[in-house]
């Protein structure tokens, strides 16, 4: 087997074994620090998706949860793998479900005077019924127990990518040196089986270039020692980036040592490499107006539906370490999550300033 054949096996199920890359880059998002400012999404948009055909693409998107997300209702669309390894059938999300880049009647309002109000139109020329962040800040629950949290999403650069397995042309591959999943746009013929198979629905179709496109983990920046744009620009310093096997780095510590960072919908079976520190919440308020510390405002069952059964343990560890820190005792976990020194403590291997290149 030559090097090209070997590289094409990475990320595939070969005789029941997933062929792994040498190392795996990963991200951890601390949801307790996300302020929903969308700086990450804009950093990505300005860096990568400004060309024609990419108007509606948000390789990184920050949704409000509980909510329908982007594309609308993606969690119920299928895709990924069954426990026995078979791929689950799914469908291709439409432009309206992703939230199209709308056209506005600026000319009529601002120059011609033939209309008085700006009105958006979708790609069909109709009034939009959904957008990339249509249910922002809506959340769930009734006052005083209403709740929501912000939720950044991007390609999970999975260890067993359903997109890679689904492509009939071998156009999707996983880099040997860091596990970044990329679509080769020279090989892609725009068949969109990847969009079907991806259970996270983080792949878009470019109707101008006629190829599928998605987050590239800013690999040209990674190759120069620069952090991905979304992570470097994050004002909340909540997007940790690093190698999963680096025992001294924050990713390994949060995922494997402290076990507080959890994958999203692990049951989809693709082994995602983006992890989330789940959100703590204040206690629910009873009918008589008293806080009930036994019940978090964000229902545990909801968080379990996203992050699985380990979320309760994760929240418990976070609470305990937070309490330690509040008592003036040392807590390595809290120190990691606080990120005292930027950028060294948030993406230690990728600290180079892109302006110096």
């Amino acid at each position: 087997m030559d090097a090209t054949e070997q590289a094409a096996r990475i990320g595939r199920d070969i005789d029941g074994q997933i062929v792994k890359p040498k190392r795996q880059l990963a991200m951890v998002f601390d949801l307790n620090k996300c302020l929903g400012c969308h700086t990450c999404s804009i950093a990505c948009k300005t860096q990568w998706t400004r060309e024609e055909g990419m108007e509606g693409m948000w390789w990184n998107v920050v949704n409000t949860l509980p909510g329908e997300g982007t594309p609308k209702g993606w969690e119920a669309m299928g895709g990924g793998f069954e426990p026995d390894g078979r791929q689950r059938p799914s469908r291709i999300p439409g432009k309206e479900e992703f939230g199209d880049a709308w056209q506005f009647n600026q000319k009529e309002v601002l120059f011609d005077g033939t209309a008085t109000h700006l009105e958006p139109k979708n790609f069909k020329g109709e009034k939009p019924s959904w957008g990339p962040n249509w249910d922002e800040d809506q959340g769930a629950g009734e006052y005083p127990n209403s709740h929501f949290f912000y939720f950044p999403r991007l390609c999970n650069h999975c260890t067993h990518p359903a997109c890679l397995e689904a492509c009939p042309r071998g156009a999707i591959y996983k880099r040997e040196q860091d596990g970044i999943v990329l679509i080769d746009d020279q090989k892609c013929k725009g068949y969109r089986f990847c969009m079907e198979a991806c259970p996270y629905k983080r792949i878009y179709y470019n109707h101008v270039k006629l190829v599928s496109q998605k987050c590239i983990f800013c690999f040209p920046r990674i190759d120069e020692g620069v952090a991905p744009a979304c992570a470097r620009q994050c004002p909340g310093r909540l997007r940790f980036v690093g190698y999963l096997d680096d025992e001294s780095g924050p990713i390994h510590k949060l995922v494997h040592q402290w076990k507080v960072a959890l994958p999203l919908h692990e049951e989809f079976g693709t082994q995602p490499n983006v992890f989330y520190v789940p959100p703590l919440s204040p206690p629910r308020v009873t009918a008589t107006g008293k806080p009930d510390p036994s019940k978090p405002r964000i229902p545990l069952e909801y968080l379990q539906s996203l992050f699985g059964p380990r979320v309760e343990e994760s929240l418990g560890i976070l609470e305990a370490e937070k309490a330690k820190k509040a008592r003036g005792e040392p807590s390595e976990l809290m120190d990691i999550l606080i990120v005292y020194r930027w950028p060294d403590h948030v993406f230690p291997d990728l600290t180079k300033d892109p302006a110096t290149l």
Partner: protein
């Protein structure tokens, strides 16, 4: 079947509705769904295992040439034509001709060292077919030449499509382009995709046997 040699001058064979096509009977070519087991990904095999694709059961094949140019006309039933793609889940109707570039090339997309040339037309770019070279399933690669012009019409629930290409092929492109000479016999295989059924890639109806095509001397 025989591609008659005629004078193209007044006949306009590039028009699928031209009178010339009424003068020669069409050869009916039977099509079958591409085997699910040959689909090159487990996802496709799983989702389409019930074989609900490739229902186009036949097409009509006609061909004429004038000594310098070949015109091939296909006609097939398609009740729900798709010629424009504006949403992510839409796929255009398509058709293709496949010619072997070596004696023993497989009509199932060729093989390593046994390439095939594929003239691929899609309804959303109706005026030109792309020439692809393939050396196996999932390997088709677009080539920069030759020019294959096309014209298609959808009427009464049927597509009629004409491909036109110069007989001669650039000698430097011999590995990618099938040359044609009057008086010689060639083989061709055919495929049709129904866009309304999300057919693309290997999800198609194809002719399981070569059709012999002889250019009249």
């Amino acid at each position: 079947m025989l591609a008659k040699r005629i004078n193209f001058g007044a006949e306009e064979p590039g028009d699928p509705a031209a009178k010339i096509w009424g003068r020669f009977p069409a050869r009916k070519v039977a099509l079958v769904p591409a085997p699910v087991g040959l689909q090159p990904s487990k996802y496709i095999q799983g989702k389409w295992r019930d074989g609900q694709f490739g229902a186009t059961s036949a097409l009509g094949l006609q061909a004429v040439h004038d000594g310098t140019e070949l015109a091939i006309r296909l006609e097939w039933e398609c009740e729900q034509p798709v010629a424009t793609v504006i949403d992510n889940d839409q796929f255009a109707d398509a058709a293709a001709l496949l010619f072997p570039l070596s004696e023993s090339a497989s009509l199932i997309m060729g093989a390593g060292g046994e390439p095939v040339s594929i003239w691929f037309w899609r309804a959303d770019r109706p005026k030109v077919a792309h020439n692809n070279v393939a050396v196996g399933i999932g390997t088709s690669r677009l080539t920069s030449s030759p020019l294959i012009s096309t014209r298609a019409e959808h009427t009464h629930g049927r597509w009629a499509l004409v491909f036109r290409r110069a007989l001669a092929a650039d000698a430097t492109a011999a590995a990618e382009v099938a040359p044609f000479d009057p008086g010689k016999a060639y083989r061709v295989a055919l495929a049709v995709w129904r866009g309304a059924n999300a057919e693309r890639a290997g999800l198609k109806a194809f002719s399981p046997e070569w059709v012999e095509l002889t250019l009249e001397a």
